[in-house]
């Protein structure tokens, strides 16, 4: 195994919080504010890790274990995910299934931890989270199937590594549809606008953020770092798809991908600044719409 395989996971582990920082700075720019420092999340994590903890009397070990299990699962996922041409640390035929199901395990325990404190807000968030993620699951799987079909491979690294300029020229339409579908999945899974707004003042309308209301201290640090990793994971799928730079030179690839990630962060920031959050009842329409796009892409690909 060569050392370049370490690049993608290392970049994810180190830079994931920065990605959120760029999004927040972009949003601040649109709002006419100066905004928080780019490295704010790193400071937050450091602060939280140094704090004590307060637990609800209602809760059990689930609320303490949920963040840990979630973060552990996401860190295993990080090892599977490629960054464009840079392969992930672990690759094997079928790793895209492990990818999808580890994410769903992380979610399973986050939801249980939310239900553990017996609060109505967190129950509400949990219920919405499982509903929306159920609708995104087929989209993710079908999008990955398109990539698997084009690369003849069941491994995320080979599937994304095979996306080149030529494949964009040949199967452009299908790839555009996959891109849109994956972008919607990325927004939905990471609780971004227009699906969820973590910054609203009203807990009634939140999804992801309301689930972690009762977590604090190191647990919250685990959760925040985990969500940053998750956003990075999905973003690197999207960037790997739209940026077909496969030079084979590790540092060129890495540089272009990191640039692409930065651009995507700015794009996400723009989306969040210019769009309003959808009404909750309308969200399923968006998600099912993404599923139909993925289906259409698959139809185009396999025809």
């Amino acid at each position: 195994m060569d050392a370049t395989a370490l690049l993608a996971p290392l970049a994810a582990l180190v830079l994931a919080p920065l990605f959120l920082g760029i999004i927040n700075r972009t949003k601040a720019f649109f709002a006419g504010r100066h905004g928080q420092p780019l490295f704010q999340l790193y400071f937050d994590l450091q602060k939280l890790l140094g704090k004590g903890a307060t637990y609800s009397r209602t809760s059990t070990w689930i609320v303490r274990g949920g963040p840990i299990i979630g973060l552990a699962a996401l860190m295993v996922v990080v090892l599977l995910v490629p960054l464009g041409g840079l392969s992930g640390l672990v690759r094997f035929p079928g790793d895209l299934l492990l990818f999808a199901y580890l994410l769903s395990m992380a979610r399973f325990f986050t939801v249980l931890a939310a239900l553990d404190v017996g609060s109505s807000f967190e129950g509400m968030g949990a219920s919405r989270e499982v509903f929306f993620s159920t609708l995104t699951e087929p989209t993710l799987m079908l999008s990955l199937a398109v990539l698997a079909h084009q690369s003849h491979s069941l491994s995320l690294s080979s599937a994304l590594g095979a996306v080149t300029v030529t494949s964009w020229l040949q199967h452009g339409t299908s790839l555009v549809l996959v891109f849109v579908a994956l972008l919607v999945v990325c927004l939905a899974e990471n609780a971004r606008i227009p699906i969820d707004d973590p910054n609203t003042h009203l807990e009634l309308t939140m999804i992801h953020e309301v689930m972690v209301l009762d977590h604090g201290g190191p647990d919250l640090a685990f959760i925040l770092y985990g969500s940053a990793l998750k956003l990075w994971i999905f973003a690197s799928l999207v960037v790997g798809l739209v940026l077909p730079v496969r030079t084979g030179v590790a540092f060129l690839d890495l540089g272009s991908m990191l640039l692409g990630m930065g651009l995507l962060a700015i794009v996400l920031g723009c989306i969040e600044s210019t769009m309003a959050r959808l009404r909750l009842l309308r969200v399923p329409n968006l998600l099912v719409g993404a599923t139909t796009l993925a289906t259409l892409a698959l139809v185009l690909a396999v025809r």
Binding site: T58, L115, V130, F131, M141, A145
Partner: protein, 661 residues
């Protein structure tokens, strides 16, 4: 083989001994369990040896019943189905010893245990039988004994109703099987399985396949033949539900596989039909499960879902066989069959732990439960493992079998197969993904509402941990779920033998394909271990971080609006509301009560109820119609003996004339 048969005899013997009239009733269970343990110890080794590649054995005896010999055989496929039967029946029996101790009806325990032992033996004989008549006899015994077990608490009217529905459904299924065997036996001149011809007069093999599908499907319980499942499983005592849901419905799958292998090379549409039925069964099953408030009813609908997953795997396998796609065939069958084993493990685990909850609190209503994690921590942990496994989450066994089915389906994608294979495979992929999401939603609901939060109803007893006799069987099942999930590669050789035994593919072909999956499975083990050690590392880290810092306990914060009370918690209905509302067109959930009206509303209440759509709008009208039609036959009922004798004479003469030439 001979030990196995002796074992069966011993189980039956002890079963009847439990009936002895002078016996104190608390002994009957012990005697029956002694029989089951002895029988399992005699039978399990030979079953396991066949799965590991031992040569098939056959035993036959002349039988006085016309239609063939009394023959039984033990090959890899039979062995594979026998292993979970021995394992789960034994564990459930130990569980039952304690579960039934508090039963108020001490007197009929003898009948109960006798039926239990007979049910176990009849399942074994169904799996072993190589003769149609023996098979049907065992099949009927299985149906009747399980009927007695379902109606054990027959003083409750809903249990009686459930028993009747079950009895009718299972007999309708048997009727189809009878026709199937008559066709096959008529053509062969014998009811021995190995003499059955693949084609018979009057009926193409597709017709035989459909007969088998309906007949065995009624037992297996996939949509639309599932209506008895959600009635019978909740009515039965929990360990009987575990045996019925984990094992007995699998005999339907076994029969389907066995008969399909006899029908010659499969047509393409068989596989497509099975995938379609499997996916719709999976989605509808889990949707109905989401809308239920009764814990055991919810689990029963999940059996429908999991049978759907199994059927999807088998359908992909058949498709692969008919289109000569060895990867699809091997992985589809291997995944489907492995899911049979896995479902037997985690579903019985779930039923047993649900039984422990019902036993301790006296209710199965989700909305009356809550906060049991503190009262029953061990049961809670076991239920959590079962819940994660049934949702297909790594690193547990449910993920492994779904992984294999996915790999099979994706093999058509990477190979760019023809649309006829690719289409169903992609439907299976999308369906499995959707089912996985729904199942996770449903089990976060079930686990979260039952075990987490605060007790929702002050009148519900607080609950207590069950005794060792109930806990240890659950623990063994949970452990096997974890072990299979972390070390799946060890099962591959066994799956290879089993699949090779009935697909008639050369074992080399299979080996090549399954060898290719060894590496992914080994990496899955590594990933599982890495995950566990990472989690362990974080636990240590968190403990070190918090060591010298204040850790307090207080009320749930809840944004500081109001002090939360148990009544403010989310309930099962509210948790499932988004799903129920969106899929109302399938579920037809009824809302009772309604929104409060006016400025100073009085007491308002809202409750939802989701009856089975198929039962309400397919079977109920159908049977009503049949009943109406049968009224016309009343003219024949004259109530005079002379007329009846006349009927007999007429029928006799007519039959004689018909068979004359």
């Amino acid at each position: 083989m001979i030990f196995l048969l002796f074992g069966c005899g011993w189980i039956v013997l002890c079963g009847f001994a439990a009936l002895l009239p002078l016996l104190p009733s608390r002994w009957s269970g012990t005697i029956a369990v002694v029989g089951i343990v002895g029988g399992s110890m005699l039978g399990l080794p030979s079953a396991v040896s066949k799965v590991l590649g031992g040569t098939p054995e056959l035993a036959s005896m002349v039988w006085s019943i016309p239609g063939g010999t009394l023959s039984v055989a033990l090959d890899a496929l039979s062995g594979f189905f026998l292993v979970p039967i021995y394992l789960v029946c034994t564990l459930a029996a130990f569980y039952g010893l304690e579960y039934l101790r508090s039963s108020p009806r001490g007197n009929s325990l003898g009948v109960f245990w006798c039926s239990y032992n007979l049910l176990m033996v009849s399942m074994i004989v169904v799996i072993l039988a190589k003769n149609g008549i023996l098979f049907l006899l065992a099949w009927e015994t299985m149906a009747l004994t399980s009927f007695f077990l379902v109606t054990f608490e027959n003083e409750r009217p809903e249990v009686q109703a459930a028993g009747w529905i079950y009895l009718v459904a299972t007999h309708l299924g048997t009727a189809f099987l009878l026709v199937l065997f008559l066709f096959l036996g008529e053509a062969a001149g014998s009811y021995d399985f190995d003499r059955f011809p693949p084609v018979v007069q009057f009926l193409p093999s597709g017709g035989l396949f459909l007969l088998a599908l309906v007949g065995f499907g009624t037992k297996a319980g996939f949509v639309p033949f599932h209506v008895w499942l959600p009635e019978a499983h909740p009515a039965a005592p929990s360990h009987v539900s575990a045996v019925m849901s984990g094992l007995m419905i699998k005999t339907g799958i076994y029969g389907l596989v066995r008969i399909v292998t006899l029908l010659g090379p499969p047509s393409t549409w068989w596989g497509v039909l099975l995938v379609g039925l499997g996916v719709s069964s999976g989605i509808l099953g889990v949707l109905f499960a989401l809308a239920q408030h009764d814990l055991k009813r919810l689990l029963a609908y999940h059996s429908v879902e999991n049978i759907g997953i199994i059927l999807t795997g088998l359908g992909l396998g058949l498709l692969g066989l008919s289109l000569h796609l060895p990867a699809l065939a091997a992985l589809g069958f291997a995944g489907g069959l492995l899911h049979v084993l896995n479902h037997a493990l985690f579903k019985s685990l779930l039923f047993l732990s649900a039984g422990a909850v019902a036993h301790a609190t006296g209710t199965r209503e989700l909305d009356q439960l809550g906060g049991l994690a503190k009262r029953m921590p061990v049961t809670c942990f076991f239920f959590l493992i079962g819940a994660a496994a049934i949702s297909g989450l790594p690193p547990l066994n449910g993920f492994i079998s779904e992984f294999l089915i996915y790999l099979g389906a994706f093999s058509t994608v990477t190979a760019h197969s023809a649309l006829v294979a690719l289409g169903p495979a992609l439907v299976a992929v999308a369906g499995l993904a959707l089912i996985g999401g729904f199942a996770a939603a449903c089990f976060t609901k079930a686990f979260g509402i039952v075990f987490l939060g605060e007790p929702r109803d002050p009148h519900t007893p607080e609950g207590h941990e069950p005794g060792a006799l109930m806990l240890v069987p659950m623990g063994i099942l949970a452990l096997s779920c974890v072990v299979i999930g972390i070390f799946p590669a060890g099962l591959l050789p066994a799956m290879e033998t089993v699949v090779a035994s009935f697909t008639l593919q050369t074992k080399d072909d299979l080996s090549v394909i399954l060898q290719e999956t060894v590496e992914p499975l080994l990496i899955l083990s590594l990933a599982a271990l890495l995950f566990l050690s990472l989690a362990g590392g974080f636990v240590v880290l968190r403990r070190r971080l918090l060591r010298r810092r204040p850790v307090e306990e207080t009320v749930t914060w809840d944004c500081g609006y109001a002090q939360p009370t148990p009544r403010m918690q989310y309930t099962a209905s509210s948790f499932a509301q988004p799903f129920v509302a969106r899929f109302a067109i399938f579920l037809r959930t009824r809302h009772l009560g309604g929104l409060p009206k006016g400025f100073f509303p009085r007491m308002a209440s809202l409750s939802t109820k989701t009856p089975d759509v198929f039962r309400q709008s397919l079977y109920a009208p159908l049977f009503l119609g049949i009943e109406k039609g049968l009224h016309y036959l009343q003219v024949l009922q004259r109530g005079r003996v002379q007329v009846y004798v006349l009927y007999i004479v007429l029928a006799l003469v007519a039959l004689l004339t018909w068979t004359r030439k």
